[in-house]
Amino acid sequence: MFKNYIKIAWRNLWKNKLFSFINIFGLAIGISCCILIFLYVQNELSYDTFNEKADRIYRITSKIHQPKKIVWFAPTSPITGERLRQNFPEIKKIVRFNFTKRPISYNNKKFSEATVLYSDSTLFDVFTLPMVSGNPAKALIAPYSIVLTETAVKRYFGDEPAMGKLMKFSDTLNLLVTGIIKDIPKNSHFKCDCIISRNTMADINKGNSDWLEEREKNWFNCDSYSYILLADHVEGKTLEAKANKFLDKEMTETKKAIGMWINVDLQPIKDIHLRSHLDQEIKGAEQGGDITYVYIFSATAILILLIACCNFINLSTARSLNRSKEIGLRKVIGAMRSQLIFQFLGESVVFSLIACILSLIFVLLAIPFFNLFIGTTLTLTLNVFWIYLSLICCIGFLAGLYPALLMSSFSPIQSLKGKINHGLADIFFRKGLVVFQFSIAIILIIGTTLILNQLDFIQNKKLGINKEQVVGIELKGVDQRKGEILLKELSKNPKITGATLNNFNFKGIGYITLLPEGAAENELTACSVFSVDENFLNIMQIELVSGRDFSKNFPTDVNEAFIVNEAAVKAYGWKTPKDALGKKIEWAFGKKGKVIGVVKDFNYASLHNRIEPLLIHIYPSWYNTVTLRLKTDNLTTTMKEIETAWKNSGTENPFKYAFLEDDFNSLYKSEQNMRAVLGAFTFLSVLVACLGLFGLAAFTIKQRFKEIGIRKVLGASVSGVVGLLSKDFLKLVFVSIIISSPIAWYAAHKWLQDFAYKVDISWWIFLVSGAMALLIAFTTVCFQALRAASANPVKSLRTE
């Protein structure tokens, strides 16, 4: 019996090639999308799960309460972590991370490590990082110990043994290799190849008397990423409440004195990748992961699969007319209804099975592109097998059930006569399916257009700072004096219109707590800050609205001059930019000075955020970049010359640079990912929906072949007939536009809320998207209609 079903399904498949192609191809596309997104989601959800104790690991993040706002940092101050550990036995272990960019070398082999990690010796008690050689309990205890990953060992030592060797740190210090670990898994929220014992940091600074006091004892010095391992059965939230009560008590004095205090938020480690969007997130961890996109991608992939299922339902049902004889006959011979249902379900399972096999090829082809665009490293895993299996069953059932129920309900006599009348409910249902398919396609078209629009807007928005033709050369770990030599050298190059030292960066600049003139003694506020030299404003073309720029003519500018932006003027209640000049600003720790100029508000961070108060000042020891404005012609030679200058400046650090424009664009990485994925999905959904329409039109028109013949004999024109045939379908697309527009509007509105600066959702997007859908649908149907309409009427009349 089963063999018989398969046999008939197989032969039907060959006999109706168009029908089979549309179904299998459509399903394969839908399945491929689902599999790809499954791999993606699986990868996203797997972050940090390699840690055996992942369920008990939390990160202490800090909510810094300031007079008028709360800032939420991913790291916390060393003392916060330390005090909590001392007072709560629930905390079994704590490990604190700090990152540095100091260069590491061995035998003159020097690499610019993206990040070098300072870590407490408890690292291996908390995280699961298997050691290849060395003793995890001791490796990070002594200062100047370094643990390398296998990749780093390869890089510095090649095949030589690395254990016990001395490496150079910051050119002058010695580090002893005390351990080698396996590479940190890709799905870890922090990545690094070199780990140095954290007490090295204190030892380096032991000459600096303030350091310990300032750095390790100051509650607000939030720069250590602190992870705690809780005892079994301790709830993170419960501990968090207790910890905050404790901190409130500890900081009563501070709160009174400066109006600031810290609360903590214990973040489960597994939530960091997808659910954490905090300030000062670990570099690299802030990119990509976002639970919203996981939801959006999953939903879209499933919707495409549904579109393909709709094709199957619609085409099978339409085609059931041609199969009525077979159905009738089987019933006459004595088939039970259940047997027929089983047969048709079996057919859809066969179809989805073939589609799955095809999709395996698609997925294999698509994975490299997906990885390229999204920056993931997905591979096909064995888990996919189970997904395929369940998809085959689901699709087989979902797509096959309706046609099976419908076809098996035909009365045998009627079906033998070929006189099946699809009921009104059925026709309505099937039209509903087409409307459903096109609604999804249109929503995706609108969505993608809008994302394109917004990204375009971002790229072309006047920021108030000219980011074009500007390149930043990284000075991290480079001696301050060498930086200045480089600056002088480069300024002489005629291909460079300007050079400036600074630590400006779109990707994140520092905060400082300060007391502006006019505020009460305890009204400290946080303020964005970066330090620049006297050329910065000029070169970056930032407009001054009052006062003056920093100048070498005023020697006091170095120590006691500030430039603020308009937002700061407003926030500090200084009435106008003119009034602001001469106002005093006092840092919570350190610098004091007066406002000498006010700049027009410019976007110094992501357009996701409003422009907040900003402080610009001169502070040479903070500079980490030489920023250059280049002449437009021949960038490659200019870059070569800059590199030569870099080498001549006497630094051994690798040459690293980035164009400001690229830095800026990288702020919208997840949006760009979304554009790539959604763009592809939109294309596929339209393709699959149109395939369905194409098939449906083919069947319907075939059914009406005789009618068309008669009409033509009676004098109908080709265009008349095409119009007649297309009308029904276009009506459905039109209904889809009406249904999808408000849904798309709502979704777009939600998405845009993430941006402080955004495009208006204009009506033309809907108009153009709708028109596009209509046009695509019309072309699809038209192709069939034209063929039928221009056929010789005598021929069509003979088709009986």
Partner: protein, 227 residues
């Protein structure tokens, strides 16, 4: 023993505006081993009657005993069950499944009755031999002549060894030579004990039968029994 026994059988077709009384209180009995022809002008209700006798359609009134069992209140499931074990059908337009070969078409009823593969093969081969079409067992219906197709259809109707064969104008689409072949086949089957009820318009075909039931406007006019 009677295979079919109907009394006051009624069938009414209702559409929005008209009621058609397709069968108006019909009663008759058909004994085991009979070969009966049903004749009458177009639209008199022959096909309707045959469909009811074949348990393909339900009736609106009267009683219908099949093998002495009252079946007028049978549900679809029971009817399908009764059909597949007891009744074979032959249609004017052959109704072979285009996607299946001759062999597979004939095999189909056996699959539904749940007979094992090996046994099936033996049974099908035997009937195909009998209708002399065994050499074409792997052909598809489109590759056969009308007469051959109808012989295959008859083979399919009898492969299950049903008690009763219902044939609705089995020769209607055939020329006289092919028609005679089919009639001869039916006669042979009848002689081996199968009861046959056949709707026909052809006087010639009716001569093969024992008895002719003449119908007009949903009623029986005469039932002449020949020897």
């Amino acid at each position: 023993m009677s295979v079919i026994n109907i009394t006051d059988l009624e069938k009414i077709y209702r559409t929005e505006e008209v009621e058609t009384v397709a069968l108006n209180k019909i009663s008759f009995e058909i004994k085991e081993g009979e070969f009966v022809a049903i004749m009458g002008p177009s639209g008199c209700g022959k096909s309707t009657l045959l469909n009811i006798l074949g348990l393909l359609d339900d009736l609106d009134g009267g009683s219908f005993k099949f093998n002495d069992i009252e079946v007028s209140d049978f549900n679809e499931r029971k009817r399908a069950d009764m059909r597949k074990h007891n009744i074979g059908f032959v249609f004017q337009s052959f109704n072979l499944i285009d996607e299946l070969t001759v062999f597979e078409n004939v095999e189909l009823p056996l699959i539904y009755t749940g007979i094992a593969t090996a046994e099936r093969k033996k049974m099908v081969d035997k009937v195909l031999d009998k209708i002399q079409i065994a050499h074409r067992r792997n052909h598809y219906p489109q590759q056969l002549s009308g007469g051959q197709q109808q012989r295959v259809a008859v083979a399919r109707a009898v492969v299950n060894k049903p008690k009763l064969i219902l044939a609705d104008e089995p020769t209607g689409n055939l020329d006289s030579r092919n028609g005679n072949d089919v009639m001869q086949l039916l006669t042979d089957l009848n002689e081996q004990g199968t009861t046959i009820i056949m709707v026909t318009r052809s006087e010639h075909d009716s001569r093969y039968t024992h008895r002719v039931i003449n119908m007009l406007d949903g009623q029986i006019v005469t039932q002449n029994i020949k020897v």
